[in-house]
Amino acid sequence: MGQNHLLSVLIFLPLVGSLAVLLLGRDDHEWVRRLALATSIAEFVISLFLLRGFDMGSGAYQLEEFHRWISSPPIHYHLGIDGISLFLVLLSTFLTPFAILCSWTSIHVRVKEFFIMLLVLETGMIGVFVALDLFLFFLFWEVMLLPMYFLIGIWGHDRKIYAALKFILYTMAGSILMLVAIVWLYGLTGSFDLPEIQMKLQRSIVMLPAGTELLLFGAFFLAFAIKVPIFPVHTWLPDAHTEAPTAGSVILAGVLLKMGTYGMLRFCLPLFPDAAHRMAPYIAVLAIIGIIYGALVATVQHDLKRLVAYTSISHLGFVVLGIFAFSNISIQGAIYQMLSHGISTGGLFLAVGMLYDRRHTHEIKEFGGLATPMPVFASLFLFICFSSLALPLLNGFVGEFLILTGTWQRHASWAAWAATGSILSAVYLLWAYQRVVWGEVTVEKNKTLPDASTRERLILALICLLALFMGVASPLFTRRMEATSQNLLQQMQRNRAYDARGAAPAGMPEHCDMPAMAAAPALASAQVARHDSVPERRAQN
C-alpha cells in the first residue's frame, strides 16, 4: 500500500504556520494576521483534497499512514479517516479561518501569541480526528487542551481564569482514567493500534469479560461525556464558552465538543459494543435530560453568549441520543448533526462576538431594536438562528430529523421526549432574537451602532450559504457517511453474536415512510443498504 501523506500534511501545516508566525516581529500585527489566515486557508484548500481521495463506498479506514514510532510498547504513528472523521476534519479546517477572521480587530493584546495558539489548536484538532493509534489519539487529545486553556485564560473575559482552570481540570480528570483504560486495553490485546484491536475483538482473538468491558467502556465514556458534555458533567461548558474570546468559543463549540461524540463513535461503540448496549438506555435518559434541561436553561439566560452555550448542551444531547439509538439512520443523523451544529453554533458565536465587539457586553437587555441600526446584520443573524433551530431546508433540520427518525424506529418514547427539544429550541432562539433585534431601540448607544462591516458580512454570509447548502444537498454528505455507519453497526452486531443475549434488533426492518423532504435521498439510500445485508466490504481491507 503506497503511503499517502495528505493527513500528515494537514496535521503539521498549521504547526509550521505557527512557527512561521513565531518568527515574525512582535508588533507586526498585520502580517501576523495575514500569515495565520493564509495558513488556515491553505489548510482548508488542502483538506478539500480529502474528498477527492475518499472512496465513499468503503467503510474502512482510508488514506492511512503508518510509521513506527515508539518501540516499547509498540506505538505507531498511524493515521486514517473514514466517513465519520472526514467531515469533522473538514469542519475543523473550515472553521479555523473564521476564527482567525473574527479575531482580526477584536484581539489587541499579544496578537502574535493568539494566532500561534489558534494554529496549534488546529493541529491538535486534526490530530484527534485522524489518529488511529490510541496513544497518538491521547497525545493529541491532551495537547490540544493547552492552546484552548491559554486562549480562554489570556484573551477571555472577566472570569477567564476560573473558566480556564475549570475547563482544563474537568477535561483532564475525565481523560486520565481513559489513559488507564488505554493501557489496560493494551494489556489485554497487546496493541495500541485501533484497527488491530478492533480486529482482535471482532474475531474473538481476545475476549473481554463483561465486567472488564463495562469498566473500560465507562472510563472511555466518562472522558467523552465530559467533553460533549452530557448532562451531569456539563458545568464547565457555560463558563468556558462565556469567558472565551469569540474565536475560542467558535472552535470550542464548533469542533471541540464534537470530539466527545466522535470518541463515542470511534471507540466506545466498536470496541465495547455489549457494554454500549447495556448502558444505552441510561445514556439515552441523560441525553434527553440534556436536551430538555439545556433548552430550558437557555431560555431563561439573560446573557446572550451563555444562552448560546446552553443550546450546545441541548443540541449535543441529540447527537448522543442518535449514537446510542444504534440505528443506521440515527447514527448518520448524529454525524450530520455534529457538522451542522458546528456551522450553526459557530455562526451564532460569531454573531454574538460581533455584538460584543460593538458594545462589550453580552447582556440581552443591553440590546433591543438592533434591526434599525444594523439591518444586514439582523437578517444574517436571523438566518443563522433558523439554521440552529432546525428550520427545514437548512442544515440543522437534516440532522435532527434523521436522529429523530432513526431513534423513533427503535425507541419511540426516546424520540418523543427528544422532539420537545426541537420545539424548545425555537422558543429560546426566537425569543432571544426578538429581544435583541426587534422592537424599539431602548438603549441610546445602540442607535449609532455600525452595521456589519464587509469582513463581518463575508463571515456571516459564508456561514449562511453553507447552512443552506447542507440543508438542501445533504446526500452529498450522507452518502460518504453511510458505508462507515453501516460498518460500525455491523461490527457491533458481529461482536454481539458471541453474546448470550444475541437476539439483537438487527433483523428489524427499518420502516421509512416519511415524506420526501430535504433529507429523503439520504434516507432512501440508507434504507436500501440495511445493516443486516451489508456486503463484506470490510473484508477487502
Binding site: 515508539i70 518501540s71 516499547s72 510498547p73 499579544r110 496513544f135 491521547f138 497525545l139 491532551e142 495537547v143 493547552l146 486553556y149 491559554f150 485564560g153 489570556i154 477567564k160 481564569i161 480556564a164 482552570l165 482544563i168 481540570l169 483532564m172 480528570a173 486520565i176 482514567l177 489513559l179 488507564v180 493501557v183 489496560w184 493494551y186 494489556g187 489485554l188
Partner: protein
C-alpha cells in the same frame, strides 16, 4: 591480594569526581577572590569528564573490588543520570552564587563529593558500601543545604536535614546490622540466597523495614517526607535542584538492588510497604502542594508526589517496572532540575521573588524563560509530548501489565491492589494539575502587579534550561533509545 587494575576503570567516574573535588579544595585557597569563579568551571569540567569516563567504565563491566561495586548496565545508566544532573546543577549555580556573593570553591567540591557518593550508591553490591555512598552524599548535602550562611532559613534547612538525615542513616545502618545478623552476609546475592532458605524470620523483616525507613527518607517518600519542604525551601535553589534530582535517583537505584535483588524472591514482604508508601506519598505530596504559595515549597511537595509515582512503578515487581523507574528518574531529573534552575534565576538577589503571585506577568516580561518554565511544569504535570508524561505512562503501564500476570497466578488480591494503585495515581495526577497550572496562571494570565525588573538570563543558565527543555521534549517524543537502555539495565539486575 591486590585488586586488578580493571577495578580502577570500573570506578573511574567516582575517582574523577573525588580527584576534581580534592583539587578544587587544594587550589582554592591560592586563588584570589575575583578568580574564584574559575573554580566553578573546574568543577563543571570534572563532572563532564566523569560523565565521559562512564564510557570507559562501560568497557570494563563486571564486579569491582571483589563485588563491593558492580559496574553493570544498571549502574552505568544511573551514573549517567546522577552525574548529568550534577553537571547541570553546577552550571546552574554560577550566576546564582555570584549574585548571592557565595562564590567559594568548596561549594563545587561538595557537589562533586556528593555526586561521587551517589555514584557509589548506584553501583553498590553490598549494604556497607551502600551505606558509605549514602553517607558521602548525605554529609555533603547537609553542608550544601546550609550554604547561605547568612540566611536563617538556610541554617534551619541544614540543621533539620542533618538531624533527621542522621536518624535515617542510622536506621539504614541498624537495618544492615540486622540483615547481617539474620543472613550472615551483607552482599546482595548472599542475602538473596539466605532469604530463599526458610526460617530467616523476624529479624530479616525488621532489618528490611529499617532499611526502607532509611532509604525512604532519601527518596522523600511519605511518611519520611516531613523535612523536605523546609529543606528545599531553605537550601540555595541550585542545591535544591541537585537534592531533588540526584540523591533521589541514586537512592532509588540502591533501593532497586536491595528490594529486587537481595529481597527479590520475597516481594510479598515488601510489596505492601511500597504500596502504602506510594499512596501516602502521592496524596501527601499533591494535597500538600495545593496550598503552597512559595514556589520552592510547591516544588518540594511535588517532589514527594513524584516519589509516589515512581513507587507505583516500583510496586509492579517486574523487569518492566524497573525500566519504568529508570526512565522516570531520567525524565524527572531533567524537568525538576530545569524547574529549580528557572526558579533560582527568577528568585533575584536574596531569593526574594519566590511567591507564585510574584510571577505574575512573567510571560510578557521574559517570554522565553516563561515558556521554558511552563514546559517543565507541563512535564511535571504529565502533558503528553513531554518526558514527564511518558515516565508516568510507563509507571502506570508496568503495574497494570503486572496485574495481569499476577491474576494468571491466581492471587486476585494483589492484582486488584495494583490496579487500584494505578487508579489512585491517575486521580492524583489530576490533583497535581491544579497547582502546576496555578503557576502557569500567574505567569500567563495575570498582569504584573509588583514590578520586578526582568533579570537578564546568563549564558550558563540559558544553556542549562535549553538542555533540560530539549531533553524533556526528546524523552517525550523519542523515548526509544533511553527506554531500550533502561530495559537493558533492568535485565542486568539479577
Amino acid at each position: 591480594m591486590r585488586p586488578p587494575i580493571e577495578d580502577v576503570f570500573r570506578l573511574a567516574p567516582e575517582i574523577v569526581l573525588c580527584f576534581t573535588g580534592i583539587l578544587i579544595m587544594l587550589v582554592d585557597p591560592f586563588v584570589s577572590a575575583k578568580n574564584k569563579k574559575f573554580m566553578g568551571w573546574v568543577g563543571f569540567a570534572g563532572a563532564v569528564v566523569a560523565l565521559a569516563s562512564i564510557f570507559e567504565a562501560a568497557r570494563h563491566q563486571g564486579a569491582a573490588y571483589g563485588g563491593l561495586i558492580l559496574t553493570d548496565h544498571f549502574s552505568l545508566y544511573m551514573h549517567a543520570v546522577v552525574i548529568g544532573a550534577a553537571a547541570l546543577a553546577i552550571l546552574g549555580s554560577f550566576t546564582y552564587l555570584e549574585r548571592e556573593k557565595l562564590v567559594r570553591g568548596e561549594y563545587y567540591s561538595l557537589i562533586l563529593f556528593a555526586t561521587a557518593g551517589m555514584g557509589i550508591l548506584c553501583g553498590a553490591g553490598e549494604l556497607v558500601t551502600a551505606f558509605i555512598g549514602l553517607e558521602m552524599s548525605s554529609i555533603s548535602s547537609y553542608i550544601l543545604a546550609g550554604f547561605r550562611r547568612d540566611a536563617i532559613k538556610s541554617n534551619e534547612a541544614s540543621l533539620k536535614y542533618f538531624l533527621l538525615g542522621s536518624f535515617a542513616t542510622a536506621f539504614f545502618l541498624y537495618g544492615t546490622a540486622m540483615v547481617y545478623g539474620a543472613t550472615g552476609t551483607t552482599r546482595f546475592e548472599g542475602i538473596e540466597n539466605a532469604v530463599a532458605r526458610p526460617g530467616a524470620g523476624t529479624l530479616l523483616v525488621l532489618g528490611l523495614v529499617l532499611l526502607f525507613a532509611g532509604l525512604g527518607f532519601k527518596i522523600v517518600a511519605a511518611p519520611f517526607q516531613i523535612y523536605a519542604p523546609d529543606v528545599y525551601e531553605g537550601a540555595p535553589t541550585p542545591v535544591s535542584a541537585l537534592l531533588a534530582s540526584g540523591p533521589k535517583a541514586a537512592t532509588f537505584a540502591v533501593m532497586l538492588r536491595i528490594f529486587y535483588v537481595a529481597f527479590g524472591g520475597s516481594n510479598s514482604i515488601w510489596y505492601w510497604a511500597i504500596w502504602i508508601a506510594a499512596v501516602l506519598s502521592m496524596c501527601v505530596g499533591n494535597f500538600g502542594a495545593l496550598v503552597q504559595t512559595n514556589v520552592k515549597r510547591m516544588l518540594a511537595y511535588s517532589s514527594i508526589a513524584h516519589a509516589g509515582y515512581i513507587l507505583v512503578a516500583f510496586a509492579a515487581s517486574t523487569k518492566l517496572g524497573i525500566a519504568a523507574v529508570l526512565f522516570y528518574l531520567a525524565a524527572y531529573a531533567l524537568m525538576k532540575l530545569g524547574a529549580f534552575v528557572a526558579v533560582a534565576h527568577l528568585g533575584g538577589a536574596g531569593e526574594k521573588r519566590l511567591d507564585i503571585k510574584d510571577y505574575a506577568g512573567l510571560s510578557t516580561q521574559q517570554p522565553w524563560l516563561a515558556a521554558c518554565f511552563a514546559l517543565f511544569l507541563f512535564s511535571l504535570l504529565g502533558i503528553p509530548g513531554t518526558g514527564g508524561f511518558l515516565g508516568k505512562f510507563y509507571a502506570f503501564q508496568a503495574p497494570l501489565l503486572a496485574a495481569r500476570e499476577v491474576t494468571a497466578m491466581a492471587s486476585p488480591h494483589v492484582a486488584s491492589s495494583l490496579v487500584w494503585l494505578v487508579i489512585i495515581a491517575a486521580l492524583n495526577s489530576v490533583v497535581g494539575a491544579y497547582y502546576y497550572l496555578r503557576v502557569i496562571v500567574s505567569m500567563y494570565f495575570w498582569e504584573a502587579q509588583k514590578e520586578f525588573a526582568p533579570l537578564e538570563v546568563s549564558p550558563s543558565v540559558t544553556f542549562v534550561l535549553m538542555i533540560a527543555a530539549a531533553g524533556t521534549i526528546y524523552l517525550g517524543l523519542f523515548p526509544n533509545q533511553v527506554m531500550s537502555f533502561a530495559q537493558l539495565s533492568a535485565l542486568s539486575l539479577h
